[in-house]
């Protein structure tokens, strides 16, 4: 018993095999200290739901908190636990994503045609390694559509072993310092990847270690490409992959993850696209995986539910599937998370108050509607323009909805507004990652288009609120960095004031019609005004006759217009040189100034004369 405990605690990679063999029904034990406490009695752990369901619940939900955290590296950490997946019915722990990792082609949620396509490709390559066929397959698709799972499943179906390129562990800075002091050269991840590819191209996979395995076919899987930054490294990777496509003899699959288009400003996204084109041009086959359909996700989820014996209703599964956006990994994780907590909540309401539930059903569903996306869904982001559109269009409920909460708080009639037909503005701002300054600028630029024809009072209210926001933003301008906290508060307050001011001020919103949202002209104005200013500051010295510091505003307000008058022949452009010549010609009685190109020098001389 004691020995078992030890093994459970040591759940590092190296111990995986032992662990999965000895304690097959327990798997996930990452929060180490906690697991020690709660599992001091391993016998009890087998029947947790019966004995102490309360403590069990709390423990599990805290586990669930960790799940998110470990999502990224669960591949590495939980590799060894796959064996435990056989225990479907019992309430074993561990990520369901791994537990229900598809092992056969039937289990894949990926569309049949796509699977078939990939399978055929592999069969062709494995049967006859003819040189004329390109040996590289590129699979694209967004995250969690089962790219890697497909490969693994097909490979095991065909009896081939998968050889994966796994990124070496990154070297942290201290380690690097240590290494370099001991004389070990640093090789970048990209270097290592290049070496790897080189080896593969020249010698094939090095299988000298196990001779028997060499008989079975091997498939190479390149899942994560090295991180790129900069053009040079991108070029190197491109060349390297290009060579790989042209000359490898092992069936190779390269997985490229499409990032959603909303992040298209991201550099890597564009890089990957380019990379994909390059690979295709080199002769690689390409299969694009679509997001998994709702039905497929639902099927998988309900299968898992059956196996886990958890009672999620069809609607809930439906909702999770919908919200996951075609990402099955996300969907399964959500389901697991959902099944942890609600055991108490939802099933209770199901069991005890069946009647009330049915009565409140519409309510329940609607509450789930806005509850779920936050808890289970993928992160929802709004584009800035979407958010601005919401604010500017200012959609509100119709009159009758008002009647309900009229008794709450007596307001003057002119201050009353219909309830908003959207989330709280702050929430939308948060989703759009709106910064106060650009938000205010955009609103300022566009809001007048959305006001009704003769609502000048509204225009005033809006303008005034935007002014408030501007003041809030600039309150701490130029202050030291230590006021960061205060500054953040101010920023969000300013954004809130700007948005709510626009919503409130626009008391008679137009019926929505199409408006283009313009980029703030103000930015352009500021730039050109700055440029003009710099030019004038420079010109202040070599332009006007005598070097002197005149106030800047004086230059713009008095000298410039006068020069325009004096040099009427010149259209607009205030070339000082020309202006000066002109005014010299007009001042005949004044000695011919020597207007060389070096104006400052000549004016210097002049001063002495005067």
């Amino acid at each position: 018993m004691g020995k078992r405990n030890d093994i459970v605690v040591l759940s590092s990679d190296g111990e995986d095999d032992d662990c999965s063999v000895s304690s097959s029904n327990r798997s996930y034990s990452k929060p180490k200290s906690r697991s020690l406490v709660t599992r001091s009695n391993p016998r009890g752990a087998k029947k947790p739901r019966l004995s102490g369901s309360r403590s069990h619940l709390s423990k599990e939900s805290s586990n669930a908190d960790e799940i998110r955290f470990f999502c990224e590296d669960f591949d590495e950490v939980f590799n060894g636990f796959k064996v435990s997946a056989g225990f479907g019915g019992s309430n074993t722990k561990g990520l369901w994503v791994d537990k229900y990792n598809p092992r056969s082609l039937e289990e894949l949620a990926v569309h049949k045609k796509k699977v078939e396509e990939v399978k055929v490709w592999f069969e062709e390559r494995l049967r006859s390694s003819k040189a004329e066929l390109s040996n590289v397959l590129v699979i694209t698709g967004q995250t969690g559509v089962g790219k890697s799972a497909t490969i693994h499943a097909i490979a095991s179906h065909l009896g081939a072993s998968v050889c994966e390129w796994s990124t070496p562990t990154p070297i942290i800075w201290q380690e690097h310092l240590h290494n370099s002091s001991t004389g070990i050269n640093y090789t970048s991840k990209l270097d290592e990847f290049e070496n790897f590819v080189e080896r593969i191209r020249k010698y094939g996979l090095n299988l000298s270690s196990s001779t028997e395995e060499s008989k079975s076919a091997t498939v190479l899987l390149i899942d994560d490409l090295p991180v790129l930054n900069g053009k040079v490294s991108f070029q190197r990777l491109q060349n390297c992959l290009h060579l790989l496509v042209q000359s490898t003899r092992i069936p190779t699959t390269i997985l490229l993850t499409d990032y959603s288009k909303t992040d298209s400003a991201d550099h890597t996204g564009r890089c990957l696209e380019e990379l994909q084109l390059c690979l295709e041009s080199a002769g690689a086959c390409k299969v694009a995986f679509n997001p998994i359909t709702n039905n497929a996700i639902k099927k998988t989820l309900s299968r898992i539910c059956r196996q886990e014996k958890c009672n999620a209703t069809a609607e809930q599964i439906d909702l999770i599937a919908k919200v996951s956006g075609g990402d099955i990994r996300q969907a399964i994780t959500s389901l697991q998370f959902f099944c942890l907590k609600p055991d108490s909540m939802h099933s209770l309401s199901l069991r005890d108050t069946t009647t009330t539930y049915s009565r409140e059903k519409p309510d329940e569903v609607s509450s789930m509607d806005d509850g779920f996306p936050l808890q289970f869904g993928r992160d929802e982001t709004l584009s800035l323009f979407h958010a601005l559109g919401k604010f500017l269009h200012n959609k509100r409920d119709s009159e009758n909805a008002m009647a309900l909460d009229q008794d709450e708080f007596p307001l003057q009639q002119r201050l009353l507004r219909l309830p908003l037909k959207m989330d709280a503005p702050e929430k939308i701002l948060c989703q759009a990652h709106g910064q106060a300054r650009p938000i205010a600028d955009f609103l300022h630029e566009n809001v007048l288009d959305f006001l009704s024809e003769d609502a000048i009072d509204d225009a005033w209210a809006v303008a005034s609120y935007l002014g408030d926001a501007d003041m809030l933003i600039s309150t701490f301008r130029g202050m030291l960095a230590r006021y960061n906290e205060a500054e953040n508060v101010l920023q969000s307050a300013a954004a809130s004031v700007a948005v709510r001011g626009v919503l409130f001020g626009n008391a008679h919103p137009l019926p929505s019609r199409w408006h283009a949202i313009r980029r703030p002209k103000l930015w352009q104005i500021e730039q050109s005004s700055l440029r003009n200013k710099n030019e004038m500051v420079k010109r202040r010295f070599n332009g006007y006759s005598r070097p002197s510091f005149s106030n800047f505003s004086v230059v713009t307000m008095e000298y410039t217009p006068v020069f325009k008058w004096l040099g009427q022949g010149i259209s607009g452009g205030l070339e000082t040189h020309q202006v000066l010549t002109q005014c010299n010609e007009t001042n005949d009685n004044f000695d011919k100034m020597s207007l060389d190109d070096k104006e400052s020098e000549s004016t210097d001389d002049e001063i002495e004369d005067w």
């Binding site: 509204d458 935007l466 002014g467 501007d470 600039s474 130029g478 006759s545 325009k564 005067w610």
Partner: protein
């Protein structure tokens, strides 16, 4: 060379407008050591002229040999070094600069650059170290921090150099600085004084001034001597034998603001507000200071307004001017003022004419 520069008095004795102040200053420098000075007054009143003449009085004609220098200063600001580009105007005995040109880095200018300049003192003929004069323009535009460090600089280097500060409004200069200086207020010249100067220039140029012409220019000039002389010269260029009925060309931006004002009076709607915004942008592009725009706009609006509204409109103008100073983007506040005016005016129109 413009007449403004050509007829700028070179010595304190030749000053025509503020003769009493000039005489006092002359006494001050000839009889005893001169303290730090702070000149303040509205634009076009002759502050700069007096300062230049004063420096000439101190150091003789050599002070007029100035050279323009555009130099990049390296300032060590704690963790990093800043490059500040600044233009200075200097002779052997004085340096003139506008610290506010450096924008938000002005305090480094005040601390470091002035320190450096103050250290390089000239040696006079007797081998004694003379003192240097630093002329700082637009002190009222300096940030609070910069003014604070300026105070320290003044104390520390008062043995080596004298500061002459120049600004429009002394209320934006901190108490600490004001108390360390001899404050000299330069009033705007009266219309009669302006007329006198213009007649003097006309004489020198050999022009025939029709009667009342100079008075009209003076009237239009807003009591700014510089502006009067500039528009005098413009008139001369436009049409020579000057006639008394000749139009005095207004400043283009003022005309533009008048146009905005009549726009606002004609129609009050968000659409019009949007057009007005476009025109305001035009002004801002040409670097007309927003405070001036607001002030001028109010002036133009008041001209056409019913007496009963004037009070309220003035109140709002002041309100938004204040907020403009606190805020960053002037256009927000000017526009808010225009919107408020439209709103007031519209309800007035409805109340009066139904």
């Amino acid at each position: 060379m413009l007449w403004v520069d050509k007829y700028r008095p070179k010595t304190l004795d030749h000053v025509m407008v503020h003769q009493d102040i000039a005489q006092n200053l002359k006494k001050l420098v000839t009889e005893q050591d001169c303290p730090h000075l702070l000149f303040y007054g509205p634009p076009g009143s002759g502050k700069k002229t007096l300062i230049m003449a004063l420096i000439r009085q101190m150091f003789g004609p050599s002070a007029e040999k100035v050279k323009v220098e555009n130099k990049t200063w390296k300032v060590d600001a704690g963790s990093r070094t800043l490059d500040i580009e600044l233009t200075t105007l200097s002779s052997t005995n004085h340096v003139e600069l506008s610290p506010s040109d450096a924008g938000f880095q002005d305090r480094y200018v005040v601390q470091e650059i002035i320190k450096e300049i103050a250290k390089n003192r000239p040696i006079d003929t007797k081998g004694k170290r003379g003192f240097k004069v630093l002329v700082l323009n637009e002190v009222d535009k300096l940030s609070r921090e910069a003014q604070h460090s300026l105070r320290r600089t003044m104390e520390k280097y008062s043995a080596y150099c004298r500061l002459i500060l120049c600004c429009n409004s002394s209320s934006k200069v901190t108490e600490a600085i004001r108390s360390r200086c001899l404050n000299v207020r330069i009033n705007a010249p009266t219309d009669e004084e302006i007329v006198k100067v213009l007649e003097f220039i006309g004489n020198k140029e050999g022009l025939q001034l029709p009667s009342g012409f100079a008075a009209r220019i003076a009237d239009k000039s807003n009591r700014s001597l510089r502006r009067a002389i500039l528009s005098f010269e413009t008139c001369r260029v436009q049409q020579y034998p000057l006639t008394s009925k000749q139009v005095i060309p207004p400043m283009d931006w003022e005309e533009y603001i008048a146009e905005i004002a009549s726009d606002v009076m004609k129609e009050q709607s968000p659409k019009r507000l949007f057009q007005v915004r476009g025109k305001l942008y035009e002004l801002l592009i040409n670097c007309i200071p927003p405070e001036i725009i607001l002030k001028r706009l109010l002036y133009e609006l008041l001209k056409k307004l019913d007496a009963e509204l004037k009070h309220e409109v003035c109140h709002w103008a002041a309100y938004y001017e204040h907020r403009m100073c606190l805020g960053q983007k002037a256009i927000f506040h000017i526009e808010a003022f225009v919107a408020k005016f439209m709103s007031i005016y519209k309800s007035f129109l409805i109340a009066t004419f139904g």
